[in-house]
C-alpha cells in the first residue's frame, strides 16, 4: 500500500492538493482539491474531486469554503484534475460542475 501526497503550485496563492492511495497498482482512494489563498481567510477549497465511499464525484464549495454542490463524475487522476484547474481556474466558482 502506498500513499502519495502531492502539493502542486498552480499559481501564486493557488494549489492543487492531491492525495492518492494505491494498493497493488490500483487506486483505492483519491482526492484532488483546488484551493485558493484568500486574504485574511487562509486557504479556501473551491473544487474537489474524490471517490469517498467508492463513488467518484466532484464537490463545489462557496467563497466561505462551505460545501454547496456535489455531482457524480468519472474518476480523475491528479493530472486530469490539474488540466481542468489550469483551463477553468478563473471560472470554477461560477461554472456548472457537471462539465467537470
Amino acid at each position: 500500500m502506498e500513499i502519495l501526497k502531492q502539493k502542486i503550485w498552480v499559481h501564486k496563492n493557488e494549489v492543487l492538493e492531491s492525495l492518492t492511495v494505491m494498493d497493488s497498482g490500483k487506486v483505492r482512494f483519491y482526492s484532488h482539491t483546488y484551493l485558493v489563498k484568500e486574504r485574511g481567510r487562509g486557504w479556501v477549497p473551491y473544487i474537489k474531486w474524490d471517490n469517498w465511499d467508492r463513488q467518484p464525484h466532484v464537490d463545489k464549495y462557496d467563497s466561505s469554503g462551505a460545501l454547496v454542490e456535489q455531482r457524480a463524475c468519472p474518476e480523475k487522476t491528479a493530472e486530469d484534475a490539474l488540466k481542468l484547474v489550469k483551463i477553468f481556474r478563473k471560472n470554477l466558482m461560477t461554472m456548472d460542475i457537471s462539465q467537470l
Binding site: 500500500m1 502506498e2 501526497k5 499559481h11 492525495l19 482539491t33 484551493l35 460545501l67
Partner: protein, 150 residues
C-alpha cells in the same frame, strides 16, 4: 512549439516525521476515532479533515508515505536565493536543534535566517517544529528536479 517547465521536489519522510504528524493530529482531533466520527458525519465538507483521516488510516496499516511539491511555474526561483539554497543544503546534511544553532553554523544573522526559514516553510521546503521553547528547522527534501520539456 510550446516549452513547459516543471519543478518537482520529492520529500522523504522519516519515521520520526510520521510520529510527529500523528502527534499533531492527536492534538488537533483528540484521537483517530474522534476524527473518524467527524469525517463520517461531515463527509466531504472538510477536505483537510478527510485527507488527514485517510493518511492516518493507511499509515496505521503500515502504508508507505511519499510526498512531493510541484511548481508548475518558475515561482520557486523567487524563493530560492543562494542563501536559502545554502540553508536547504545544510539542513539536508545536518541536524540542528534550533534556528539559533543554524544561524551560528552558517555564520549568519539570526533574524535573516529566521526570515529565510519562514519563506521556505511557506512552500513546505523546510519544516519548523516546536521543541520546548525553540523552533527546530529540518529539511525533508531528497530530490529537486527541474524538468524542461519541449
Amino acid at each position: 512549439m510550446v516549452c513547459t517547465m516543471e519543478i518537482n521536489i520529492i520529500k522523504e519522510r522519516k519515521q520520526s516525521d510520521i510520529d510527529d504528524l500523528i502527534k499533531k493530529w492527536k492534538k488537533t482531533y483528540g484521537s483517530f476515532d474522534s476524527l473518524q466520527n467527524k469525517v463520517m458525519i461531515s463527509k466531504c465538507s472538510s477536505p483537510e479533515e478527510m485527507n488527514d483521516y485517510i493518511v492516518w488510516k493507511y499509515l496505521s496499516t503500515g502504508a508507505d508515505f511519499k510526498e512531493s511539491v510541484v511548481f508548475e511555474s518558475a515561482d520557486v526561483f523567487y524563493i530560492l536565493s543562494p542563501r536559502r539554497a545554502e540553508i536547504l543544503e545544510y539542513l539536508a546534511n545536518n541536524e540542528v536543534a534550533s534556528i539559533r544553532e543554524l544561524s551560528n553554523k552558517l555564520r549568519r544573522n539570526y533574524k535573516n535566517v529566521y526570515d529565510d526559514l519562514k519563506a521556505l516553510s511557506k512552500y513546505e521546503l523546510v519544516e519548523l517544529r516546536e521543541e520546548g521553547r525553540a523552533l527546530k528547522p529540518s529539511c525533508s527534501v531528497s530530490i529537486f528536479n527541474v524538468n524542461f520539456e519541449r
